[in-house]
Symmetry: C2
DNA sequence: ACCTGAACACCGTTCAAGT
DNA sequence: ACCTGAACACCGTTCAAGT
C-alpha cells in the first residue's frame, strides 16, 4: 500500500480522540453492560487496534473515569439556580436521577469513581449554595447534601438492580417465591410483594423526597 | 507418591466446601479488594487447583452471590424485633450500616446482587412488619423501606468512596484543590471543604436518619 | 505524532483423565 | 465423588518497529 493510500484511509475515518473513545465506551456500556467493556472490544468498535487507545488515554481506569465525567456533565443544572430550597434541590435531584436511570449499567461507575473536575463539582456547589441560602450551617449543609444524594443513588440502585425488574416475569416471580419461601414466615413480604414488584418507582422516589424535605425543614425550624 | 500418602495429604488439609470457599473469598475481598478476586487466586489461597472450585460452585458469579449472602447474614436483627418504628428501624439500619462499613470493598456486591434466600429476606420482612405496625399502608411501607435502605447504602457509598477518605492526606487535598479549582467559582464548596473531609460520618448518618423519621412521622400523621 | 503486531502475564471455564 | 493439567478463548498493558 502506498503512503498516499494510507493518508486517504486516515482521512476517511474520524481521527481518534479522547472524546470519541469516551462516547463509544459509554455506548458500549449502555448497550452491553459494564462487564462487557474491554479495551479490545472498545478498540474494535472504533475500528482501530487495541493499542491505539493508549495514545489518548493512559489505561482502562482512565476510560472509566472519563465516562463518569461525561455522565456527570449530562445533569441539567439550569433549573436549580437561585430557586428556593425544596423547588431547587428537587429539580436538581430529579435531573440527577434521570441521568442515572438513562444509564443503569453505569450506576456502579458513579458510585465508585469520585470525580473532582470543575464540571463534576458544579452540581455540588449549587446544592450547597441552595442549602446555605436556606439557612443551614456549613456542617448541616454538607450532611443534608450527603443525605439527598445518598438517597437518590440508593433509590435508583434499588430500582435498577431489583431482582424482579423485568415486568413480564412478575407473575412467575410471585409463583416462584410462593414455592420457595414459607409464606407464614414472611407475611408482610407477601402482602407487599405485588406493590414491590409493580411499584411506581417515580412515585416512591417523590414519597421519599417529600419526607426528607419535611424532615429538613423541621430541623431548620428547630435550630 | 503412593495412594496412602495422598490419602494422608487429603486428611491433613480441611476438605474443600462451599462455605470455606465463600469465607476465603470474603477475606480476599476485604484484604485486597473486589477487583483482585479471581478464581485462580482464590484457589491458590485455599491451596488447591483453580478447577477444584468448580466442584462446589458453578462459576465466579455464584461465588460473588454467595459472599453477598454471607454478608447479609451478618446483620444483627434481634435488636429490632417488636420495637416501635423509630427505635426498631434505627437499630436495624445501624446494624446494616455497620456490616457495610466492615466490608467496604464488598459494597458493590450488596448494591448489585439481589439475594432472595430466606435469610436475606428476613431483614426486609422485619422492616416491613415494623412499618405496617406503625400504621403505614402496604404501599407506603415498601416506599419507606426503600427510602431508608437506599439512604443507608447511598450514605455508606459516599463515605467509603470519598476521594479524600485517607485522613493523612487531608491537607494535601485542600492545597491541591485550591490550586486546581477557581476558588471564586466554588465558594460554598471551599467553605464546607474541611467539614466534608474531616466530617464525622456517624453524626452525619444520624442527622439524616432523624430528618427522615421526622418526615415519615409527619406523613403518618397526615394520612 | 500517531498507529500497530507480537509478546507477556494474567483471566474464567471446559474437558478428559486421574484417584 | 472429588481433584487436576492441559487447553481455549479471552483480558490489560508494554515495547519495539513502523508511517
Amino acid at each position: 500500500m502506498t503512503a498516499k493510500a494510507i493518508e486517504t484511509d486516515r482521512r476517511l475515518r474520524e481521527p481518534l480522540t479522547r472524546e470519541r473513545i469516551l462516547a463509544c465506551a459509554l455506548q458500549l456500556i449502555d448497550r452491553d453492560g459494564l462487564e462487557e467493556l474491554s479495551m479490545r472490544r472498545l478498540a474494535a468498535e472504533l475500528d482501530v487496534s487495541a493499542m491505539s487507545l493508549y495514545n489518548h488515554v493512559p489505561n482502562k481506569e482512565a476510560v472509566l473515569e472519563g465516562v463518569t465525567e461525561v455522565l456527570l456533565r449530562e445533569i441539567e443544572l439550569t433549573e436549580m439556580e437561585g430557586l428556593d430550597l425544596e423547588t431547587g434541590l428537587k429539580a436538581g435531584l430529579r435531573s440527577f436521577r434521570r441521568v442515572l436511570l438513562d444509564h443503569p449499567n453505569a450506576l456502579t461507575l458513579i458510585e465508585t469513581r469520585p470525580i473532582v473536575t470543575p464540571d463534576a463539582l458544579k452540581p455540588i456547589e449549587l446544592s450547597l449554595a441552595t442549602l446555605r441560602r436556606a439557612g443551614f450551617s456549613p456542617d448541616d449543609a454538607v450532611r443534608a447534601h450527603w443525605m439527598l444524594v445518598g438517597y437518590t443513588i440508593g433509590h435508583v440502585g434499588f430500582q435498577v438492580n431489583s431482582p424482579i425488574a423485568d415486568p413480564s416475569r412478575v407473575q412467575d416471580e410471585i409463583a416462584m417465591r410462593r414455592q420457595t419461601l414459607p409464606v407464614e414466615q414472611f407475611p408482610n413480604l407477601f402482602e407487599c410483594l405485588r406493590m414491590a414488584i409493580e411499584g411506581d418507582f417515580d412515585a416512591a422516589f417523590e414519597f421519599g423526597l417529600d419526607a426528607i424535605f419535611a424532615g429538613l425543614k423541621a430541623k431548620l425550624a428547630a435550630s
